[in-house]
């Protein structure tokens, strides 16, 4: 399976948030025995307001709210993990928080790094296929 190395923390979290639900849940399940008793600080759905910048005057305004699921956990040693994904999927947000906490705690880092690299490659390929379909609609308008 192809891989794309993900070294940036922001990119790593973005890849996790977009990971296939079954895959991220499976990875999180595998981590649980290694992490000890997890304290759930937050597990809830809620809204994130999404602003946009107007291209005419540069004004930032609110486009509308996005339903998200959020999970915030703490490991026995005090290390925290956080997950937020769009949509109502508390399990996926919790799985993301578990993986985030494991990476911060130095648990299964090599395996998780490989999984995230594989997932990054899958997401990049998915985007590439979408963009190939979009490119097929490029038009060169002629005027007479």
């Amino acid at each position: 399976m192809s891989e794309i190395a993900v070294t940036d923390a922001s990119e790593r979290l973005s890849v996790l948030a977009r990971m296939v639900p079954e895959r991220i849940s499976e990875e999180a399940e595998m981590l649980l025995p290694e992490l000890g008793e997890i304290e759930v600080i937050q597990s809830r759905s809620g809204l994130v307001m999404l602003p946009m910048r107007d291209t005419v005057t540069g004004t930032d305004f609110h486009l509308g709210e996005v339903l998200v699921s959020e999970a915030h956990i703490r490991l026995p040693g005090g290390i925290e993990g956080y997950g937020m994904v769009t949509g109502h999927d508390l399990e996926r947000a919790m799985a993301m928080a578990v993986i985030d906490a494991a990476l911060s705690a130095g648990v299964a880092v090599a395996r998780l790094t490989r999984v995230i690299a594989e997932e990054a490659a899958r997401q990049a390929e998915q985007d590439r296929e979408t963009l190939r379909a979009i490119e097929a609609t490029r038009v060169d308008m002629e005027t007479f």
């Binding site: 923390a9 922001s10 990119e11 790593r12 979290l13 973005s14 948030a17 977009r18 809830r44 759905s45 809620g46 809204l47 994130v48 307001m49 999404l50 602003p51 946009m52 910048r53 107007d54 291209t55 005419v56 005057t57 540069g58 004004t59 930032d60 305004f61 609110h62 486009l63 509308g64 709210e65 996005v66 339903l67 998200v68 959020e70 915030h72 925290e80 956080y82 937020m84 994904v85 769009t86 949509g87 109502h88 985030d100 985007d127 590439r128 296929e129 979408t130 963009l131 190939r132 379909a133 979009i134 490119e135 097929a136 609609t137 490029r138 038009v139 060169d140 308008m141 005027t143």
Partner: protein
């Protein structure tokens, strides 16, 4: 207005609700999933007007309301009020969105080129009646290009600003927590631009179209040409408690700029955007934005006129409240009418 509480009819009310819901039958997870899958344009329209991006809930609201758009919006806006606001995301900027469609009717050769994306603009529209005869309509798959399109495209307005064709934005970006928010403060006039654009983003598509169309037909002061129309996916950039920003996922957005040459030596632009892909609303909304400056009070392109009258929950709610009991107010008007008639008859009697 004066209202009076009415009593009675509890059984009739309950049976009326049952009769209404019987039209739709069972609302199952499979039905909701099929609505979400099969009706993306309707889902997008509902999400934009509900001001809530949640495709599965929009599908549920449509299933539960039997497709009554205003009822679906009411359900979604009410549900939204039960949810906590967790964060305000980073502002979406045009040059960072995954662009699916990007066209200009004003400029043929725009930087980055024109991409039709998913559209029927140049297609022959025919009803596929063979489906009601038992056949299946199967769309022909896209023949993908060898190479992908660029994910992001430059803003046409930014290029026009660099060319001196339009005025450059003069505003400095504000802190995201300080952006005016209509869900927390009233709409007052003259409206803040952030309020105007937020109000248009959640406005009723049909209402915006009707008023925008009136401007296009000549009841405005400027005829629009589409400067740039985009359908995109925007990343929802949120904050980890440690401060790292990341994308929690993508949402579909649409935005339109319309342009007029009626400026003082430069082009003038109007703007509108919404959640979901909804071209007609953004073009009509941008036309209203273009025509609003200096519009007389009472004109369809006057800001107060079009923002108040295109709020879907308020306008539909006000409209349908007229079917609820008004017995006292109407009786009072009837009494006044009878009095006036009696008075007139009295004065018309010969001395």
């Amino acid at each position: 207005m004066a209202y009076v509480a009415t009593r009675g009819g509890e059984r009739a009310i309950e049976q009326a609700e049952r009769l209404y819901r019987a039209q739709m039958g069972e609302v199952t997870p499979a039905r909701v999933a099929e609505i979400e899958r099969a009706l993306p344009s309707l889902i997008d329209r509902v999400m934009g007007e509900a001001s809530l991006y949640a495709p599965d809930l929009a599908a549920l609201a449509l299933a539960q309301s039997g497709g009554d758009l205003y009822e679906a919006l009411l359900l979604l806006r009410a549900w939204r009020s039960t949810q906590p606001r967790l964060q305000i995301a980073a502002p979406v900027t045009q040059d960072r969105m995954l662009t699916h469609r990007r066209i200009s009717a004003a400029f043929k050769d725009i930087p980055g080129g024109q991409i039709l994306g998913p559209t029927l603009d140049y297609s022959h529209r025919l009803l596929a009646t063979e489906v009601v005869q038992g056949e299946t309509f199967t769309p022909v798959p896209v023949e993908k290009a060898a190479n992908p399109a660029p994910a992001c495209h430059p803003s046409l307005a930014a290029w026009q600003q660099a060319q001196g064709l339009v005025a450059a934005p003069s505003l400095a970006p504000v802190d995201r927590d300080s952006i005016p928010d209509l869900t927390k403060e009233p709409l007052l006039f003259p409206a803040k631009r952030a309020h105007t654009l937020q109000s248009l983003a959640r406005a009723d598509t049909g209402g915006v179209l009707a008023l925008g169309y009136s401007a296009m037909r000549g009841y405005g002061n400027a005829h629009p040409t589409v400067n740039e129309l985009r359908l995109s996916e925007a990343e929802v950039i949120v904050r980890h408690p440690n401060g790292t920003e990341f994308s929690a996922g993508r949402v579909k957005t649409s935005q339109a700029e319309v342009v007029t040459t009626k400026g003082q030596g430069t082009l003038r632009l109007g703007f509108c955007a919404t959640l979901g892909w909804n071209e007609v609303k953004t073009i009509a909304g941008a036309t209203l934005d273009l025509n609003a400056p200096g519009a007389p009070k009472g004109s369809p392109v006057n800001e107060e006129f079009f923002l108040y009258h295109t709020e879907p929950v308020e306008s539909s709610g006000f409209c349908i409240h007229f079917k609820l009991p008004h017995y006292v107010t109407f009786q009072s008007s009837l009494d006044a009418l009878r009095d006036a008639k009696a008075q007139r008859n009295k004065t018309e009697e010969p001395a």
